[in-house]
Amino acid sequence: MNFATASYRGILRLDPRTKILFTLTVGAFCLTMLGGSGAAATVIRSVLTAVSFVLLAVSGRPRSAMVFLLWFALAWAAAEWVLPHVGGFLGWFIYATLGMTTQTLPSAVASYWLLFTTTAGELIAALQRARVPQSVTIPLAVMFRFFPTVVSEVRQINDAMRMRGVHLGGGKASEMFEYRVVPMVTNSVKIADELSQAALTRGLGAAPTRTSIARIGFGWADWLLIAGCAACFAALAAQGLF
């Protein structure tokens, strides 16, 4: 999973704070099942799920949105038509799988959309405007910067192990996990050390706040989405379920 690298994708541009709020709302209702199984909550959940797919589609990833949607539809259809006819352990297994899929997929879609459409620079700028201190934002930025690096290190380590016959199906499968950690950790530490040097010589931490070239700010679409999220919570509160 990677942060986006270009700020303009698709036709819709939202402020990172709005995106975070929306992702949290989807998480609250769909993942942690806020509102239980009441009628209002079910409606809210369906709307949020649908909006997640739409947002991903209009943000430049229509194909991913379709794949996620298809997956979701299949799980839902299976729950509706297959599950009632299967019993026993298999039935329980299918039930658990489908339940997990339908419950986590909307949040996965929303998170994917958040990460895919937000550059690290935008996220940090937005968090800074929300008065989150640098001691939080900088480690966050480093974390995302680190993912691709670690992935490429792991690939090289895999190559080295494969040459030594240490792979699944090879004669030395038991060493496979044992040996992987050492070079990964030592290399990560070395890279982190060099990265700190590079960042410090370019003035990281020179001032308590940084300026940013990321263009962030709230537009009509932001207010619309924020109002929508607020409405979801308000509807629940009105039912006295909070």
Partner: protein, 534 residues
């Protein structure tokens, strides 16, 4: 602009060479080269200028380092205050980026210094224009080539407009084309009146840019030369100092000598002379004659490699030959497909297509899975292949368990033999990660030998090595070939290729475009291909 007064710096723990009794001054607008063997203290001098010593690296500093009027050790604001005046470019493109996209990277330093966003955008546009890199803006950094990354690193220090620029071995991972671009960037800084300090091993590409050179040894400034003095150093004296060629012609000159009198001696000289008579007929890749070389050789049969989501193969080599028991240099620019070629040869993943046909008439063609156990690659970053807790275990891990050495004791005896031959006997029980870079590389070579495989591949084994270490690695590689191994060396370093290889396979855009023996004519051809135009 930069002044050292009686400067002595010793690292806490004494892990690296410090700097002792350094006195000297670098005037504004000068370009100064720091040269000398690995561990001579030149990196420490760069750290004293950009403030990493003593602000990041703990140690004892006496004397005064003054940069742009600031006493670096005592400057209020520490590193950040120095950072406004000094921009730093490092060796490893993997670890000097803080963001994921080029534009964000160019903005990074300016944002830290709280410049207004509008001004930052203007600066980015101006620098991108100066560096001819408008097409790189907004692109993800991970997708860039090594040369492009180094360009971004230079541009990203340039946007904040420091007066002093410090570069620590910036050309280590670069090919001839990228080196030419780096040269253009340094020439631009020079025109802009910046003070530039460069620590380097490869020197020819700086010819004509250097005003002064500091030669360091054991942490002391042993000799100061003007640019012209460095340029006109007699070859013997230059070699005695352990310096690589300082002018492009010297590489080609060494090439000519290498062709006539082989440095490795042995059988190679004889073969080389035979090849010389054939040199006239070697032409383009499609020409079957060009691909055939004397003696037994491995034949490549339709190698190809297609990345996921890609329509056309990145590598496509219908036919090529790798002479057995010799050293073949695989050369080409960054991104030409050299590393993909090595992946294919080693058979590292499913996408590697094609067979390798061994020289023996009775031998079966080796498909991808067979090659996994027939070849052994020494990776560029040896840290990725050190897994165990002792050097001995490390080498044992690579040794096949079902080989002829059945018992545990036999296997260990054989490993100790290999370690002794590589001057590693004394460190057999040490942790591999506690060794020096050169020793780690030799451990990887020991593992290759222990594997008992016939084809040994080296992926860029000399990036960032000084002349002495480069010659050492070249010697080890020659030894492998003399012991009957077939060696393939990927490199874009002409000096190294000339020191160790017998034959050349040139790769460009995923195709083998040239193949020739490294005789007198071949050496000149190779030097011309791999040397940046200065």
């Amino acid at each position: 602009m930069i002044r050292f007064e009686n400067v002595t710096f010793e690292y806490a723990g004494g892990t690296h060479t410090g700097v002792y009794g350094l006195n000297g001054e670098i005037h504004a607008g000068q370009t100064v080269l720091l040269c000398g063997d690995s561990g001579c203290g030149k990196t420490t001098v760069t750290r004293l200028i950009n403030g990493l010593a003593p602000h990041y690296f703990d140690g004892e500093l006496t004397g005064h380092v003054t940069v742009a009027g600031l006493d670096t050790a005592a400057a209020p604001g520490g590193l950040a205050a120095i950072a406004r005046h000094v921009g730093s470019v490092f060796q490893n493109p993997k670890s000097q980026f803080f963001t994921l996209d080029v534009t964000g990277e160019l903005a990074f330093a300016c944002e830290n210094f709280q410049m207004p966003p509008e001004e930052i955008r203007e600066r980015i546009a101006a620098v991108a224009k100066d560096f001819h890199m408008e097409d790189l803006l907004d692109r993800p950094i991970t997708n860039l080539s090594g040369g492009q990354k180094q360009k971004v690193a230079c541009a990203s220090v340039s946007t904040a407009g420091p007066d002093v620029l410090v570069l620590d071995e910036p050309s280590s991972n670069l090919d001839a084309r990228a080196i030419a671009e780096l040269r253009a960037i340094i020439a631009l800084w020079k025109r802009q009146g910046k003070t530039v300090v460069i620590a380097e091993h490869r020197l020819y590409w700086l010819d004509g840019l250097i005003d002064r050179a500091w030669y360091l040894r054991g942490g002391r400034l042993e000799r100061e030369m003007s640019g012209d003095e460095l340029r006109n150093l007699p070859d013997d004296e230059r070699r005695a100092l352990g310096l690589r060629p300082v002018r492009a012609e010297q590489i080609a000159g060494a090439a000519r000598m290498a062709g006539i009198a082989s440095p490795a001696g042995s059988t190679r000289a004889g073969l080389t002379r035979n090849d010389a008579t054939r040199a006239g007929s070697t032409q383009a890749a499609g020409d079957a004659h060009a691909l055939s070389m004397p003696g037994a050789s491995y034949a490549i049969d339709h190698f190809s490699y297609t990345y996921r989501h890609a329509k056309a193969p990145t590598l496509d080599v219908p036919e090529a030959r790798i002479p057995a028991d010799r050293v073949t240099a695989v050369t080409g620019f960054n991104g030409a497909g050299k590393s993909t070629f090595v992946r294919c040869l080693q058979g590292l993943d499913r996408r590697c297509k094609g067979d390798l046909v061994p020289p023996a008439a009775s031998a079966k063609p080796l498909d991808r899975k067979a090659r996994l156990n027939a070849c052994f690659t020494v990776l560029q970053d040896v840290n990725c292949e050190l897994f165990t807790e002792s050097v001995l275990d490390e080498v044992l891990l690579a040794m096949p368990e079902d080989g002829e050495l059945g018992s545990e004791a036999d296997r260990e005896a054989r490993v100790r033999e290999i370690l002794a031959s590589l001057d590693l006997a004394e460190v057999a029980d040490r942790h591999p990660l506690s060794l020096s870079g050169g020793q780690k590389q030799r451990v990887a070579i020991a593992a290759a030998l222990a594997s008992g495989r016939d084809v040994i591949i080296f992926d860029e084994p000399t990036s960032g090595l000084d002349m002495r270490h480069m010659r050492e690695v070249a010697g080890l590689i020659r030894q492998l070939a003399d012991d009957g191994k077939t060696v393939v060396v990927v490199t874009h370093d002409p000096e190294f290729a000339l020191a160790c290889a017998d034959d050349v396979l040139a790769i460009d855009k995923g195709r083998v475009v040239d193949a020739y023996p490294l005789d007198a004519a071949g050496a000149v051809r190779l030097a011309g291909f791999l040397t940046a135009k200065v």
